[in-house]
Symmetry: C2
Amino acid sequence: MSFSFSLDCSDGAARAGVFTTPHGPVETPAFMPVGTLAAVKALDPMDLTAMGAGMILSNAYHLHLRPGDELIREMGGLHRFMGWNGPILTDSGGFQVFSLATLRSVSEDGVEFQSHIDGSRRFFTPESVIGIERNLGADVIMQFDHVIPGQSDEATARDASERSVRWLARCLAEFNKLDAADVSQRGSQALFPVVQGGTHARIRRDAAESVMGMDDWKGYAVGGLSVGEDKQTMYEMLEVVHEILPAGRPRYLMGVGFPEDLIEGIRRGVDLFDCVAPTRMGRNGTVFTTAGRLNIKRAENRSDQRPLDPGCACAACARFSRAYLRHLFVSDEILGLRLLSLHNVHFLLSLVRSARLAIASGTFDAWSSDWLARYHLRKMSV
Amino acid sequence: MSFSFSLDCSDGAARAGVFTTPHGPVETPAFMPVGTLAAVKALDPMDLTAMGAGMILSNAYHLHLRPGDELIREMGGLHRFMGWNGPILTDSGGFQVFSLATLRSVSEDGVEFQSHIDGSRRFFTPESVIGIERNLGADVIMQFDHVIPGQSDEATARDASERSVRWLARCLAEFNKLDAADVSQRGSQALFPVVQGGTHARIRRDAAESVMGMDDWKGYAVGGLSVGEDKQTMYEMLEVVHEILPAGRPRYLMGVGFPEDLIEGIRRGVDLFDCVAPTRMGRNGTVFTTAGRLNIKRAENRSDQRPLDPGCACAACARFSRAYLRHLFVSDEILGLRLLSLHNVHFLLSLVRSARLAIASGTFDAWSSDWLARYHLRKMSV
C-alpha cells in the first residue's frame, strides 16, 4: 500500500527512478550503507542524513542474536531503536547463516546452526525469519534463502535455488499471515524475493520465472553474486535475469558495492545496491578516490596537505589533510575510522547520484567511460 | 598583545570572566576537553563546536613523538592541522616525561628519557620544549616543569619545585627569544608558569611568589594536584596559592575534571580545568549523570528506554535510549564510544556553564550544594 516505484527515465538499460516506502522516498539508483548491528560502523545517523543517504540496511541474523529482535520490537522497532527515521531494509540472514555460523545442518524445514557469538544452537526456518524481520520492522524485508558458495556446480546451484523458491512460498504465507494479524502495522513492510542460481544462466532464468509466478512483488533482489566469480560472469547473470524481471519494479543487487561494480550494475538496470566495503575499508585505512584507491597509512602521505580526494565535498575532505588523517591512523585515533568511513560512504552515494544525473541527461555511456578511465588511471600507472 | 582576562563578576572566591586569546574568547570558568594527539578521542571538531567548547588542550610530549612538532609546523600549525580554529593550550609534556616515559635521568639541564612508543632516547630541556610548543603554535603554552609523585616528602617536593622555578626562567628566556625572532607570529602565544610544591603549603607559597616575581604572566597554572592526595588537601593547596596569585589573571588547575572537583575548584577561584576523564570513561562505558555515574554495560540497562540523563540536551541523550547505547557497547560498535564520550564532555561543559550562571546571579553556594546533593544521592542509596 505505501510502496511504489516510478521510473523517471532510462538510458539504455540504466534507469533513474524513485522507490517510495512508508519511511520516505529513495531516489534510484541508490547505494544503501550497511548497518549490520543497527549502526553503520563508525558513523552517526546524523552523518548519513548530512550525506543524503536514502535507505540503509541492517541484518536479521545479527540482530536476532544481539540484542534480540524481540527487544528491538519492545523498544519500538528498528527505526526508533537506532535513531534513523528513513527507509530501512533488513537482510534475512541467509548469507550469514551460511557464512558466519558453524555446524550447519540444512533440511527442507530450515537450517540448524551454532551462533558465531556464543555457540548456542539455533534453528532458522522461513517462518521464523519472517517473524524476526516483522519484529525488527524494517520497510523492506528479504526472504530467507539457501545461499551457496560462488563456484558451486550446477546440481548444487539448482538444488539450492529451488529450495529458495520453495522457502519463498513459505515466507510469503507467513508474511501475509503476520501482516493480516497486525492491524496497526498492516502494509508497513514489503517482502522481496531473492533470485538465486549461482553462475548458471538457465537456473537463474528458472528462478526468476518461478519467483514472478508467485506474486506481484514490490521489488526483486538478485543474490549470490560478487562471491568469487569473475566480473564478466556477474554482468552476464544480471543481463539474463533482467530480461525476465518486470521493468516496473526495483531491482536490488545484494552485497555489491565497489565503484566499478555500481557503474556496471547500473548500466545493466540495477536500482539498489549495498556493501560493507566502504566502512570496512575505511576502518582499514583505505579510501576510494576518483583517481583510484588510496591507503592513508603509506609514508608518502606523511606531509601531504591535500584532502583524500580534491574533488570531494565530504566532511572529511572539506576539513582535513591526508597528513592529518594518516596521523590519526598511525596513532590509533578513533576519529580516523570515522572520517575515512564517512568519506567512502559519501563517495559511493555521490557516485550513484552522478550516475542518476547522467541517465537523466542521456549521457550515461560517455559519463561512465570517462569515470572508469579516470578511476583506473592510477592502477595502470603503478 | 592579543591576550586579556576580564572578570565579569564573582561570588565568594568563585569568579566568572572572559579569557581572550588570538583564536577567540573563552568564557570562564571553563572546562577544556583534551586532545592529547591533536584529536579529542572519539570526537570530531564539529562535535566540540556544537557543544560550545571554548578552548581545548593538546600535548607537546605526545605530538613531538608522533607525528612530530616540525611536521605540524610545516602543515601550518596545530589549529590548521587538526581543523580546530578555536583557542588551544598545549601542556609541555612535563607530566608525561615523568609518568609515561621510562629510564628517566633528571639533571639541572633537563630530562633524558626513552620514548614510550619506540624506546628511542630523547632529551628535553626547558629550551627544547619551548621550541616544540612554538612549532605547534597553540595559543597558551605551558612551561616545562619537574613533576613528582603526589605523596612526595617535603625535601623532594622543594627540590622539584625550585628546579621548576629555575626552568621557568629558562623557558621565559627562550620564549622571548623565539617570539622576538618570529615577526609574523609575534605575540601569538602566552607562556603560563606552573606552580608546583606537592601537598606542602609553604613550598606552594614560595613557588607562587617566585613565579610572580619573574614576570607579569598572562595566566597561572597550578600543577601536581589530583595525583593521589586526598581531596581536602587539594582544596587547601588551592586556597593557599590563590591567596597569593593576582586576581586579574586566569588560574588553571591542571588535569582536574571530575564534576565534584570542578565545583570545588570553582568555589576556590579556579578559572580553567582540563581532564581526560570524560572521554576515557566514555570509551569504557561509564557516564556522568546529574544523579551520579552510570555504567551503560550493566544488564539493568538492557531494555531501558530512558536517555543516559533525562535532563541532558546532548546529541546522544536527544536521540538514543540506554538500551541502544548498551547494545552498541556490547556489540563493540564504534558509535558507542563516540556517543558516550560526547555525552560526558557535554556534561562537563554544561556543568561549568551552569556554575557561571550561578556566579553571575550570586547563588553559587546554594546551586552547588543542590547540585552535589543530587549527584551523590545515587552513591548514598547503593
